[in-house]
């Protein structure tokens, strides 16, 4: 494993310090450096807090800023943040309208955010959204166990815009619950990853294998299959996604191709081209697009496809201005 790092104990902190320094206009460290928060908090809005293990950069810290998150808590690599970090973020960002915790559905994240919410409940109004956008793992596990993966940033963008527009905590929760049924993601991996602490690869694939249905923690996926041409891979992925997605109700479709960290953007755009063509051939039009390396699994070679069915109102939330280290558009 060759990584640009000094020691595995400090790599998360050093990397975060770099991000905060490079984007000092937008973000700053919270108390004791336990989290990263929006530099200028806006009172009178619900505070949006997310977080998770490191190794998924630029998520979540790259999405802190106007129109998206107010704070992000980062744990060690692939290890969820601890409740003290989350509690500190709640204390510093709650402007009286309450806090919404956006949690990816991984047992560790869910439990740590839950403990934080319990411990802070006496002083703050707190609600939690557990994002579950992974395609149904197909009976191999409990169905409520869809993981929270790349679709998380779609949820964060939409909730972020809504919070910025003054929505209350309950309305945000209702939207979030509703979105969970309309966003689906599937990932494939061409190469396992090496977790810095262990210095071992999470799985080893041969030259003509790939792992399908992977999450974002380097874990193996649903099955190991033969590597194939991009069009074929994309077709299979879309089939899983579409068959798992709540039936359309006249919404606009968001197509999001996400790189896992080691995949060049040219391949992501090629996959996007392929996916868009495939959807068109099924009579489905793409209303919004996102292509890039946003939700990673260290330097894993691979990508995920996310399809979200968005209502008119949600398309407007998607288009609403956002000003973060990574996503930036609108006035």
């Amino acid at each position: 494993m060759k990584k640009f790092m000094n020691r595995s104990e400090t790599l998360v902190a050093e990397s975060l310090a770099g991000l905060v320094a490079a984007h000092e206009r937008l973000v700053t460290f919270g108390a004791d450096g336990k989290f990263v928060r929006r530099r200028s908090l806006r009172p009178g809005k619900v505070a949006l807090i997310s977080g998770g293990g490191a190794g998924h950069e630029p998520m979540h810290v790259g999405f802190v800023g106007r129109g998206m998150l107010d704070a992000a808590c980062t744990g060690h690599v692939f290890t969820s943040p601890t409740p003290d970090q989350i509690i500190a973020a709640i204390r510093e960002t709650d402007g009286g309208e309450g806090c919404l915790l956006i949690v990816k559905n991984y047992d560790g994240d869910v439990m740590n955010f839950e403990m934080a919410a319990e411990l802070a409940a006496t002083e703050h109004r707190i609600a939690t959204v557990v994002v579950r956008d992974d395609v149904d793992p197909g009976g191999s596990t409990r169905s409520q166990d869809r993981r929270g993966v790349a679709g998380t940033i779609v949820v964060e963008k939409l909730l972020g815009a809504a919070a910025e527009a003054g929505w209350g905590l309950d309305a945000l929760c209702t939207l979030a619950d509703d979105l969970n049924g309309r966003i689906r993601t599937m990932g494939v991996s061409l190469r396992g990853v090496t977790v810095p602490d262990t210095e071992r690869e999470t799985f080893v694939l041969s030259e003509n294998e790939m792992e399908v249905g992977v999450g974002i923690h380097g874990e193996p996926g649903r099955a190991r299959v033969k590597f194939a041409a991009a069009d074929e891979i994309v077709e299979t992925m879309l089939e899983s996604i579409l068959s798992d997605l709540a039936p359309p109700r006249g919404e606009g479709l968001l197509l999001f191709i996400n790189g896992f960290g080691g995949t060049p953007v040219s391949e992501l755009y090629l996959a996007y081209h392929s996916a868009r063509a495939r959807l068109h051939s099924l009579g489905i039009t793409v209303a919004r697009s996102l292509v890039g390396t946003y939700v990673t699994s260290l330097d894993m070679a691979g990508l995920s496809i996310t399809v979200a069915r968005l209502e008119e109102r949600e398309l407007s939330l998607w288009d609403a201005p956002v000003d973060t280290a990574v996503l930036r558009w609108g006035g």
Partner: protein, 215 residues
């Protein structure tokens, strides 16, 4: 007899040597087995369970001098909170909940101390925290049998042995919780790392208590 052993623990509450000894025993067994635990986690998880547990026990060690001053129930609660705030991942809230809950139950129990009852409530709290059931291939598959032995008033050696056996039995299970669950059938054939750390800690505690009060 465990029942007797544990009673002694609470009689000598605020016994600095005892609390310190338990902390040291746990820290040592985790330090010695951290690589092994991460190795187990690498097979069906993300390869960090040993690192996580070690970080937690080191954090407890830093607090040692403060913790040994406390009454045992309070000390257990504080150790649990320290684990929660330092381990992260799945193991932090689970082990944390276990210790916090044992501590709370014991401090609540004015006068009459029922360790078996306290342990039962704590194990249930862990199950709720993890939304997990017996047979899900988690540390609960060690906690439940250990609790059973405590109820049976088994000796320390018996508890230790049951814990070990219970951890081994997770090998045949299909994980339904934690990261390993995402592997489906591919999780079968491996020991659950959390079950293993739980058995190791149980053994270390039993050994330490055994030394304190040889049969």
């Amino acid at each position: 007899m465990i029942g007797e052993g544990w009673k002694k623990v609470f009689e000598v509450s605020a016994n600095a040597a005892l609390i310190g000894g338990l902390i040291d025993a746990c820290r040592e067994v985790i330090a010695a087995n951290a690589d092994h635990l991460s190795e187990l986690d690498r097979a069906i998880g993300d390869g960090d369970h040993g690192t996580n547990m070690r970080r937690g026990l080191e954090a407890v060690h830093v607090e040692r001098s403060r913790l040994v001053q406390l009454a045992l129930p309070r000390a257990l609660e504080e150790i649990g909170l320290t684990l929660v705030m330092s381990v992260g991942g799945a193991a932090g809230p689970l082990y944390g909940t276990l210790l916090i809950e044992i501590g709370r139950q014991l401090s609540g129990a004015s006068g009459q101390i029922d360790f078996a009852r306290a342990l039962e409530r704590a194990v249930d709290a862990v199950a709720r925290r993890g939304r997990a059931s017996p047979g899900d291939k988690t540390l609960l598959d060690v906690l439940y049998p250990v609790h059973g032995e405590v109820v049976r008033r088994a000796g320390l050696a018996g508890i230790c042995e049951v814990a070990q056996r219970a951890a081994s039995l997770t090998t045949g299970m299909r994980a339904m919780r934690g990261r390993a669950a995402f592997l489906g059938d591919r999780s079968i054939g491996h020991v659950d790392p959390g079950a293993k750390s739980c058995a190791l800690l149980t053994a270390a505690i039993c050994r330490f208590l055994e030394e304190q009060w040889p049969a």
